[in-house]
């Protein structure tokens, strides 16, 4: 090894040592341990190391777990659709309707900043808006639209979809905004010059070119909504528990870590699959503008 090569590898080891050890020890190995525990057996109140597929069989054979998985999928899909329906127009508006860069940057900031502001509080506030003694009910009674407070607004799937959509709109806007920003205005002008109206220009030029952003936003929203347990535990009712709440129970009252780990592994694999498919489709559908 020449001194130059030696220096190269010494530098590599010196810079890389701590991050590699840290990431393996505190990230990679924990995921592996979770996978291992999902094969264990529960012998109440203990868990015995084992290698059997009973926990996974239970997840897919017991209608209770299958049902909650399907419900979670449905809710996460609905949230993605609604967040897209509201987020896309918002991103489109910022890029194509707002004329000045200063206003656009300001509004963009206003839209995405809530993304990082206390997730818990943003879920909590819907509890006080939709609750029986809450803002919406008292407003409707005050204006005389209803004369009895309604319990219909809170503790159900609708409340959960409203809350999760609210939380994830910025996630949707961000990648779509980035995709729309990259579309050269000359392509849209060309479409107009060739006689296409705004509708067909949108459908044939803008939408295909922003598809990558739509896929990225929908993927992130679906995956994160799929594993949420805070919003359902605050605003979801008995029929609104999601798979993450079931996992939570296995590590609490039900005290069945192997089953909880198996459920969690299923979420992990599902999310990884979705991310991989979405990355592939993004690459496949990519249109080269250069």
């Amino acid at each position: 090894m020449t001194p130059r090569q030696k220096r190269y590898w010494l530098g590599f080891a010196g810079v890389f040592g701590v991050p590699l050890v840290w990431t393996s020890l505190f990230l990679l190995i924990p995921y592996a341990v979770m996978l291992a525990v999902s094969f264990w057996t529960r012998k109440f109140p203990l868990f015995v190391p084992d290698f059997q597929f009973g926990n996974f069989r239970q997840v897919f054979a017991d209608p209770q777990y299958l049902e909650v998985l399907l419900r979670t999928g449905k809710i996460a899909a609905l949230v993605s659709v609604f967040a897209l329906a509201l987020g896309y127009p918002l991103a489109y508006f910022l890029i194509f309707i707002v004329r000045t860069a200063k206003v656009r940057n300001f509004l963009y900031m206003v839209v995405i900043v809530p993304l990082w502001v206390s997730y818990l509080l943003r879920a909590y506030v819907w509890k006080i808006i939709l609750g029986t003694g809450g803002v919406l009910n008292s407003f409707l009674m005050w204006t005389g639209i209803i004369d009895q407070p309604s319990g219909l607004f809170l503790y159900n799937q609708t409340a959960m979809i409203i809350t999760l959509t609210y939380i994830f709109i910025p996630f949707m806007v961000m990648p779509i905004y980035t995709a729309l920003e990259k579309i050269p205005p000359r392509l849209i002008e060309a479409s107009h010059d060739l006689g296409e109206g705004p509708f067909w220009t949108f459908l044939r030029v803008v939408l295909p070119l922003s598809w990558g952003g739509v896929v990225a936003g929908a993927t992130l929203t679906f995956c994160l909504a799929f594993g949420d347990f805070v919003a359902p535990s605050l605003v979801g009712g008995p029929d609104g528990m999601l798979v993450a709440n079931t996992v939570q129970t296995q590590f609490g009252a039900a005290l069945n870590w192997p089953l909880g780990s198996a459920l969690s592994t299923v979420i992990l694999l599902l999310v990884l699959t979705i991310i991989t498919i979405s990355e592939r489709s993004e690459r496949y559908g990519k249109i080269d503008l250069d």
């Binding site: 220096r7 890389f16 991050p19 840290w22 990431t23 505190f26 990230l27 190995i29 924990p30 341990v33 979770m34 525990v37 509201l86 987020g87 127009p89 918002l90 489109y92 508006f93 309707i97 900031m109 206003v110 839209v111 900043v113 990082w116 502001v117 206390s118 997730y119 818990l120 943003r122 909590y124 506030v125 819907w126 509890k127 006080i128 609750g131 003694g133 803002v135 008292s138 609210y166 910025p170 705004p198 993927t219 992130l220 995956c223 994160l224 799929f226 594993g227 949420d228 347990f229 805070v230 535990s233 993450a244 996992v247 590590f251 870590w257 909880g260 780990s261 969690s264 992990l268 999310v271």
Partner: protein, 260 residues
Amino acid sequence: MHKLYWWQRGLLGVVGGTMVYLYLPIVVLVVFSFNSNAVMSLPLAEFTFDWYRKVLANEAMLTALGNSLIVASCATVLTVVIGVPAALVIDRYRLPGLGLFRRTILLPLSLPGIVTGIAMLNFYRQLGIPLGLGAIIIGHSTALLGIVVSQVLTRLSRFNRRLEEASQDLGAGPIETFFKVTLPGIRSAIIGSALLSFTLSFDEIPVTYFLTGRDNTLPMYIYSTLRRGITPEINAIGTLIILASLVLIVASVSMLKDKD
């Protein structure tokens, strides 16, 4: 101002509605933190600072706030100390396995927090690491590593490597070059992502939930209070948290923005 088409007016309507949807809840939270009635309903009662006074007198809440500040500070320092070298290696070296390394670091960002939380809980239990603030700090710094790594990587990809070569040619060693050339080039990305890590760690729930011991962080304290019932005190502390987060995040986003 040119005349708007019908579809542009419709679009404006949707956009306006969405903006209301995004901000009305925050307005509700703030308004009710100043409302004297303990029941959060309309019409509003009198203006009061009582709930803020109660927050300042609430020992348990203040202890939780202190814990959260400790956790967020330590986790932020760790994400930077580990994340910046990790980003440098990913950017500079071409080796098999580095792609996997990068994906692993970024994984917790797109994975529901509960999966990472449970993985860590299982791991700590097997190793006998006690749950508590220490465990939470390790958990947060690991889960948020991806924020620093992704932002620093983005900045490094646009960094002009010739500057480093020039520095080496002029006789500076690798360490001197890093501190005098590379670091100033990526400084704002580091500060921006550190501010973001701090805010996210301060607000974190899903990982914390599984690693918490006897000491509560502020979000965990609020979360457990909420399950017993809601009080306007939550609105008061919530308003303060949102205000602080807004300042940190606006600072962070402007640091992370490329000035080209």
